[in-house]
Symmetry: C2
């Protein structure tokens, strides 16, 4: 496995692989790799011939007061995970490699970024789309893999790639969960054992949504009230949002119909956690 | 010469050429081709092995009340010019090919788009950068050619390509002029003979800037006053701006130093005309 520190070096490695007729798979990450990331890498290994993983904690997607500085950066462990998982090259640039002093260009995806996490994290998605556009242009993969855990991010990136005619496929892989249902996240490391137990409520609330929908409830308001009840049982938890939105447009729905995304964001101690499920009502 | 009407078809043709090891050159245009465009195509023919020209009047770069609808679209003549000039494929999509109803993604280049034409044409550069990002992603050239006549556009596109790490080279070619100095533009067609004569003042004013700089004048204000005097001799002309800016940052300069851009925008009758020259003072 190679570790490329510069844009030029990762481009050279990918170019050589492409020259050999290989299909390039790409998993962009911020490191602190866990079984969620590993599942993305496994999907890349299965779906392509040459796997690139980027490890870059992107400063432009963190707001002031967010956890950019303390975001975990266990590089040695990450590289070991990549090696074992069958990655061909890790791209691990410095912030200075990725952003020069002259940088003034931003990719903005409107509308889709104004709901859910976009409300409480102004500028976050602009940072995500811009760094992803850069990384996708640097690596130029045939296919890139994102996790369903960050549902809004996945929808936004798919939209960006389609809108800007970027010549690649985007694959969204299922959320990986702990045995109690908690979605695996690098930010779970911020939690105490007690807080982690409380965090399991998040998935329980999402399951409640699925159950109620199956049982025939269609009013979002009714379902959200029940979800909030479950979440409020965890005393360490502060709810940021509980939303039921159209799975593609991410716009709020009064009535559950079609493919909907039930999404939750909470704060527990120092962590901000998000999770979601897609419920396909089968109705139009 | 092929004419590709769809994204898929132009991609297929370019892919085949690339497969043959050819270097792809690209000239994006809005059609109504003139000797300025031909000079770009000639540069592409010289600098690459396979030349793609796009002809697309991009709706998103026109403001309300601007000339989107009446912008000339002489497709047959344009195709003939391309054929004669040695173009391999013309990409001529419909607006519906380029923009679907779902499009919500914009590429914004900050700062550089806030001066000069950016002031009077809000949203113009957002439309230019977005369509260029799309076209560059569709054609995926090794090198693309832009004209110095649209100096701000050239600076903005170069910045975008660098900032987003788009894997291609941008070449800026010299402005082509009529014998009286008027910069060749598709919008010159809007002028009467009388107005065209008046329009020759634009280049005269730019030459004045060069002369005064050579003669040692360094105060922008002094030079701009002289340039305005020349322009105001043409009674049909309404000055939009006369600016002296840094050639890279496009920020106003009180004193001429380094490489500066002297730029003029005027309205004559139904036409808005722009022109510029770069003056290299040799000083730091």
């Amino acid at each position: 496995m190679e570790v490329a520190k510069t844009i030029e070096s990762v481009r050279a490695v990918v170019k050589a692989a492409r020259g050999d007729g290989k299909r390039i798979g790409f998993v962009p990450t911020m490191g602190a790799l866990h079984i969620g990331h590993i599942s993305l890498i496994e999907a890349a290994v299965k779906n392509s011939d040459f796997v690139v993983v980027s490890i870059f904690v992107n400063p432009t997607q963190f707001g002031p007061g967010e956890d950019y500085k303390k975001y975990p950066r266990p590089l040695e462990a990450d590289l070991e995970i990549c090696e074992k998982a069958g990655v061909d090259v890790v791209f691990n640039p410095t912030p200075e490699q990725m952003y020069t002093a002259e940088n003034v260009t931003w990719v903005n995806v409107d509308k889709l970024t104004e709901t859910l996490c976009g409300r409480s994290r102004p500028g976050h998605f602009r940072g995500v789309t811009t760094v992803c556009a850069k990384l996708l242009n640097i690596v130029a993969p045939d296919v890139a893999f994102f996790g369903q855990k960050d549902a809004q991010q996945a929808v936004v990136i798919k939209r960006m790639v389609a809108d800007l005619n970027m010549p690649m496929e985007i694959v969204v892989c299922p959320t990986i969960r702990e045995s109690d249902g908690l979605a695996v996240s690098s930010r779970n490391k911020y939690l105490t054992e007690e807080q982690k137990k409380d965090a399991a409520c998040i998935y329980k609330s999402l399951q409640k949504c699925r159950e109620m929908s199956k049982a025939g409830t269609t009013e979002s308001e009714t379902i959200i009230a029940e979800m909030r009840k479950i979440l409020s049982q965890a005393t360490s938890m502060e709810i940021e949002y509980v939303s039921i939105v159209d799975a593609e447009s991410l716009q709020n729905l009064d009535k559950i119909v079609g493919k909907v995304l039930a999404a939750v964001a909470v704060r527990i101690g120092p962590a901000r956690l998000i999770d979601n499920i897609v419920v396909d009502t089968g109705k139009q």
